[in-house]
């Protein structure tokens, strides 16, 4: 079949090429295709991303400013906001320290089981958050493996702050390490070696060479980690128990309000979370615009 088609194509090509055509760079698509592609992607973004975001703010303000204020200053809402900030302020620094340590180990040293460690770091991305929550219930819950021991010693993990922090740490762990590993690997370790030959102590090498070299990737990782820590729903929902004013984080509070047909209040609290997303996005764009080259080395996914 192709043999039959070939001669005919050969015959038509020279005729076509002979006609003067509008000059355009080799390999680029026609104008129509360009417009179509841009329209499709823009349309998708508007419809599925921007529109819901706008509707959150519109719905939040639907009952007026005083209703909005009432919704977010109501004691349960305040407690949820406090709890969310508390969980994030524990989980994020923890993940920064462990993430930096893991990235450092992977990028600067050769050891057995390195590939296993890299896949383990990615694990939380591939596991459904609900499952990671359930794992903690299984481990630390009243019927769990360690439940009786914990109960005997008066330690509460599930349906309490420690459980929320554990679940959040698990889900948000990859963000810092994933940002840092490719950047650190691309930098190599000659800067550190230079600092060591100049007589610097290992601590000084870390704080004055290693950390400053990756500060923008680190900041970027912290930003993403924080956004996810505050917005995490699935894993937290399982371990929280949803005790109002006690173990309810903002995302859980939003869901409860919504289920109780208090949609204006739900959207009001949701608008705070959405606001956080916008701030993160703005900071991220600012970073990329200002320090694009430094960050480019770190981009991987």
């Amino acid at each position: 079949m192709s043999e039959a088609a070939l001669p005919r194509r050969d015959a038509t090509v020279p005729a076509k090429a002979a006609k003067p055509r509008r000059a355009r760079p080799i390999g680029s698509e026609s104008r129509l295709v360009q417009i179509l592609l841009i329209a499709v992607s823009l349309g998708f973004l508007l419809l599925f991303l921007l529109l819901p975001l706008i509707s959150v703010f519109v719905e939040a303000g639907a009952r007026g400013w005083s209703a909005y204020r009432a919704a977010i200053t109501e004691p349960d809402a305040v407690a949820a906001i406090r709890l969310t900030l508390l969980v994030a302020s524990i989980a994020v620094p923890f993940n920064v320290v462990v993430g930096v340590a893991a990235a450092w180990a992977i990028a600067k040293f050769e050891f057995r089981g390195k590939n296993l460690l890299i896949s383990l770091i990615d694990l939380p991305f591939s596991v459904s958050p609900v499952i990671s929550g359930l794992v903690y219930v299984l481990l630390f819950g009243a019927q769990g493996y360690l439940g009786p021991f914990l109960k005997a010693n008066g330690i509460e993990i599930i349906f309490a702050l420690p459980g929320l922090v554990l679940a959040t740490v698990f889900v948000t762990f990859p963000f810092v390490a994933r940002e840092l590993i490719p950047h650190m690997q691309s930098l190599g370790s000659t800067d550190e070696e230079a600092a060591l030959t100049l007589g610097a102590s290992p601590w000084r090498v870390f704080f004055s060479i290693t950390l400053p070299n990756v500060k923008w990737s680190l900041f970027y990782g912290v930003l993403l980690c924080n956004a996810r820590a505050m917005g995490e729903f699935g894993a937290v929902a399982v371990v929280s128990g949803r005790i109002r004013g006690l173990t309810n984080t903002m995302p859980l509070h939003v869901e409860i309000l919504y289920n109780e047909y208090m949609s204006a209040a739900a959207f009001a609290v949701a608008s705070l979370l959405a606001g956080l997303t916008l701030v993160t996005l703005a900071l991220k764009s600012l970073l990329e615009w200002r320090y694009g080259d430094a960050i480019a080395a770190a981009r991987h996914h």
Binding site: T190, A195, L196, T197
Partner: protein, 348 residues
């Protein structure tokens, strides 16, 4: 502040790769030594071992009488200039140079004014005054190289180690920096070891050249020594172009295809040998004893000289010959060639 470096029987292996095999080398205080070899010959590994950035599997490195295995990196006081300089990009030039001084324990650390003064003096020494506030990314390659050197000199090193110091620079700046580095060495007098794969650089700069091949030290000697009296065929071929003639040595004469081509050999070696002859050690002559007949097949320009390629019967490869006179033979002309100097290595 300058010491002798003694390298004693160093072995180093990276997994399956034997990087260094019982390498021993004595370096005098204030000496300027080049470690020369092709890539993979172990020269950079040896430099990193002297610096303490790698640990030897066997053998030791002494600074003066002190075994460096007992010294921390800080106490070794090494000035190491990395191939790509490894300047700290988040710091200014002044902060880079001051880094070593600021890293000292509090008791030995000079005060701010003293550090500032030393940074200025070092920038003066490397002929880049006034660049304190620049960042490495704002410097040219040659400037970075000199800042890296200033940073290494700031800690008043016992030994200065340079890894391919001119590797990342273009040809013209290379030439300038070579002369400058030689001059700097004669002024500061540090024991200096540098790694290079460029034989011209090694011969021009160093007091002594150590040639490495597959982890072994092939020969150590002054540039004249190693160039004129190569110890092995590898050294001979690596240091410069050479024609290789399979000959048979009988008595004091070398025979190519039963024709005597070179006399006066003092080596007490009969039998088959390889005769290495540099292109400038071949001369066009009239019909004299020991001359080799051939036909000019190619003429080329190689910088200041012209190169003739001459086909000789019994040789698979043409002989390369540097023409010293302005009068050149024509292509196709029958000529006679005489060897003025050669090195013979017995072959099995």
């Amino acid at each position: 502040m300058t010491v002798a470096v003694s390298i004693e029987g160093i072995d180093k292996r990276f997994q399956a790769f034997q990087a260094l095999r019982s390498v021993s080398l004595d370096i005098q205080p204030g000496e300027f030594v080049a470690l020369l070899g092709p890539s993979g010959s172990g020269k950079t590994t040896l430099l990193r071992l002297i610096a303490g950035l790698e640990q030897a599997d066997a053998g030791r490195v002494l600074f003066g009488d002190v075994d460096t295995r007992d010294l921390s990196l800080r106490d070794r006081r090494i000035g190491f200039v990395f191939q790509h300089y490894a300047l700290f990009k988040t710091m200014t030039v002044a902060e880079n140079i001051a880094f070593g001084l600021r890293s000292r324990p509090r008791a030995e650390r000079p005060d701010g004014a003293e550090i500032k003064r030393r940074v200025e003096a070092l920038l003066e020494l490397v002929q880049l005054p006034g660049l304190e506030r620049r960042y490495p990314s704002q410097l040219s390659g040659g400037q970075r190289q000199r800042i890296a050197l200033a940073r290494a000199l700031a800690i008043e090193p016992q030994v200065l180690l340079l890894d391919e110091p001119f590797g990342a620079l273009d040809a013209r700046i290379r030439k300038d920096l070579r002369a400058w580095l030689r001059d700097l060495h004669s002024r500061t007098g540090h024991t200096t070891v540098f790694v290079t794969h460029d034989q011209e650089e090694a011969l021009e700069l160093a007091d002594r050249v150590a040639i490495l091949h597959e982890g072994r030290l092939e020969q150590v000697g002054t540039p004249d020594d190693v160039y004129d009296h190569p110890a092995t065929p590898f050294v001979c071929e690596f240091l410069g172009e050479a024609n290789r003639l399979p000959v048979k040595i009988v008595g004091s004469q070398a025979f190519l295809d039963d024709r005597p081509v070179l006399g006066g050999l003092t080596q007490n070696q009969g039998g088959p040998a390889a005769l290495y002859v540099r292109p400038h050690h071949l001369k066009l002559v009239d019909d004299v004893p020991l001359s080799i007949p051939g036909i000019v097949e190619e003429l080329r320009r190689t910088g200041p000289l012209r190169r003739a390629e001459i086909a000789v019967s019994g040789l698979a490869k043409r002989l390369d010959l540097d023409l010293t006179s302005q009068v050149a033979p024509a292509i196709g002309e029958r000529v006679r060639v005489k060897i003025t100097h050669a090195t013979a290595f017995a072959t099995a």
